[in-house]
């Protein structure tokens, strides 16, 4: 239900993002999805990748400010309105979403969100029979 996301502090200077991407490339880490929350001076680069623990260690060893965050990963049919339905269920349960983003994986839509109310989110997802994916699903690689 939750997967590991890498969160990386990067400055808005040329070369800083490239450095991170180069480390991942050299370590043979596959990036599955990524997004940047940016401000005028820095950004938080969030990414879902194969082997997040190893990617975390490689980046850490290279001196990068990186953290592993647990995020929820819902699996949605790739049809209009599915993301809206899922988000409505979560917000109707009074769960506040810190951030969210979506990407396509193996023909399905994946909705990533982070909340501090993890137990409640866990229960709501089960109650409403929402589909989700786990770390293992991503390790297998996308088959589209």
């Amino acid at each position: 239900m939750t997967i590991n996301q890498l969160s990386i502090f990067i400055e808005n200077r040329s070369g800083t993002l490239v450095k991170v991407l180069d480390i991942l490339k050299q370590s043979g880490i596959q990036i599955i999805a990524s997004t940047i929350a940016d401000t005028a001076e820095y950004g938080i680069y969030r990414l879902i990748c194969s082997e997040p623990s190893r990617a975390y260690q490689e980046l850490k060893d290279a001196g990068v400010a990186v953290a592993l965050s647990d995020v929820f990963a819902l699996e949605l049919d790739n049809e209009p309105g599915k993301a809206a339905d899922a988000v409505r269920i979560i917000s109707d349960a009074d769960i506040s979403i810190t951030y969210m983003y979506t990407f396509l994986w193996g023909g399905k839509g994946i909705l990533i969100f982070r909340t501090d109310q993890t137990e409640k989110a866990h229960d709501v997802i089960l109650q409403h029979h929402l589909s989700f994916i786990d770390e293992n699903d991503l390790a297998g690689g996308g088959e589209n």
Partner: protein
């Protein structure tokens, strides 16, 4: 030696040195004559207030040998200070000067608890800078084994510290932190090394920095103060109490003055530190203005010594920034940055003027291990920046904009700290 005996000795030496420069340095002779002072007017140490000050500019203007009192044949060593602007300062030492210097340095090391069984690494730069050779001679005099590591090649140095079981080190406090960082990167742990004494100087540092260095290198860190215009490292030193630095006042007489009015200040008040060399032959100086800000302490120390002590250098009168009319010292920023565990001990002050209003930006470096998943939103980072900004405001009395930088992106100075970019002057 009682305080009265010390004052009597200082008075006697002061009279002698004034007489000596009067006859041997035209610069001082002219100055004293223009003030209608003769050496006979100077009989006790209290008469020192009658004497003129000497500034860094006087030294530069009389480049290279204008203030030298001894004949060239008596000079056995010449050092030059790092001048970023204008002429460097040239200081010549006679054989006796080197002897005094070495003895003063040996006193410092003895107070730190260094003895003949120690292996001591001198990691100040050897060369024109007085740090390397000055500390070196003192270590040899007390009979410890000196390792003249100098600066540069930090990894090799770290290996030597581990492999030789080096027990003491003299270097700048920022180099000590750099060394700790290098060791951590190399995987050298605290229990693999035997450092127990650190003599740190040549740049101002703070109690927070001391705590950090002591923790990371597992040693006890002592202040070592000096400046080439007066002698070099050995002018003052901390003892086991780590509470103020004992001044070798039988050779270097200290005063603290108001840098604006030039009036001497009573003990305990912060002002500009001024030294008169009481025994120097090569280049003696009268009331040399160090530009270092500190206060003096009277009274017997817990260690038993009765010599006057100086506080930490609280700033340089040169470094003092006037921002929106308020005096700001980089050291104040440093103490705030070091008090928050989320930040590395590196910072940069960027002063600018926008629409006729001074602005201060403080760049700090995020410490890698404190970037955790709680900080994975801009809101959390902003909150951290605001927390630092609030502390800065309460210490500096002016607002500063905080900019967080990624780990390892603010340059670590290996020598004198350079923490300010003042764009207003350009």
């Amino acid at each position: 030696m009682s305080r009265d005996e010390m004052s009597a000795l200082q008075g006697k030496r002061l009279h002698k040195i004034v007489e000596y420069v009067y006859h041997n340095v035209p610069f001082y002779r002219h100055k004293l004559q223009s003030m209608d002072i003769t050496p006979d007017d100077i009989q006790t140490i209290d008469d020192i207030v009658k004497l003129p000050f000497t500034t860094k500019k006087d030294l530069r203007d009389n480049y290279p040998f204008g203030l030298q009192a001894a004949p060239q044949s008596e000079i056995i060593r010449i050092h030059a200070s790092s001048g970023t602007t204008g002429n460097p300062t040239i200081v010549g030492y006679t054989r006796k000067d080197i002897g005094v210097w070495t003895e003063c340095m040996a006193r410092c090391l003895t107070a730190y608890g260094v003895g003949r069984n120690d292996i001591f690494s001198v990691s100040y730069g050897y060369g024109l800078f007085t740090g390397g050779l000055g500390a070196h001679n003192g270590v040899e005099m007390i009979g410890a084994a000196v390792v003249p590591a100098s600066t540069g090649n930090t990894e090799k140095h770290a290996r030597l510290i581990r492999d030789l079981g080096i027990t003491g080190i003299a270097c700048t406090p920022s180099y000590a932190l750099y060394l700790a960082e290098t060791m951590e990167k190399m995987g050298i742990t605290k229990d693999q090394i035997h450092l127990r004494v650190g003599a740190f100087g040549a740049e101002p540092w703070t109690e927070n920095m001391r705590a950090e260095i002591q923790k990371r290198l597992g040693l006890k860190g002592y202040n070592l103060y000096g400046l080439s215009e007066i002698m070099g490292p050995s002018v003052s030193y901390e003892c086991q109490e780590q509470h103020g630095s004992h001044i070798n006042e039988d050779h270097f007489y200290p005063e603290v003055i108001n840098p604006v009015t030039l009036e001497p200040l009573p003990k305990g008040q912060t002002g500009e530190l001024v030294f008169t060399t009481l025994t120097k032959e090569g280049m003696p100086v009268l009331r040399y203005r160090t530009r270092d800000l500190c206060s003096l302490m009277d009274g017997q120390c817990g260690c038993g010594r009765t010599s006057v002590r100086m506080s930490r250098i609280e700033g340089r009168s040169d470094d003092m920034l006037i921002i929106r009319g308020i005096n700001v010292f980089p050291s104040q920023v440093e103490s705030v940055v070091l008090s928050m565990k989320e930040f590395a001990p590196r910072y940069m002050l960027i002063v600018d003027r926008v629409n006729n209003l001074d602005t201060l930006q403080v760049q700090v470096e995020l410490r890698q291990e404190y970037f955790t998943s709680t900080f994975d939103t801009p809101a959390a980072i902003d909150e951290l920046e605001k927390r630092l900004a609030a502390r800065l405001k309460s210490v500096l009395s002016i607002g500063a904009k905080v900019q967080l930088k990624a780990p390892g992106t603010i340059e670590r100075s290996q020598g004198k700290s350079a923490h300010v970019i003042d764009k207003r002057k350009i």
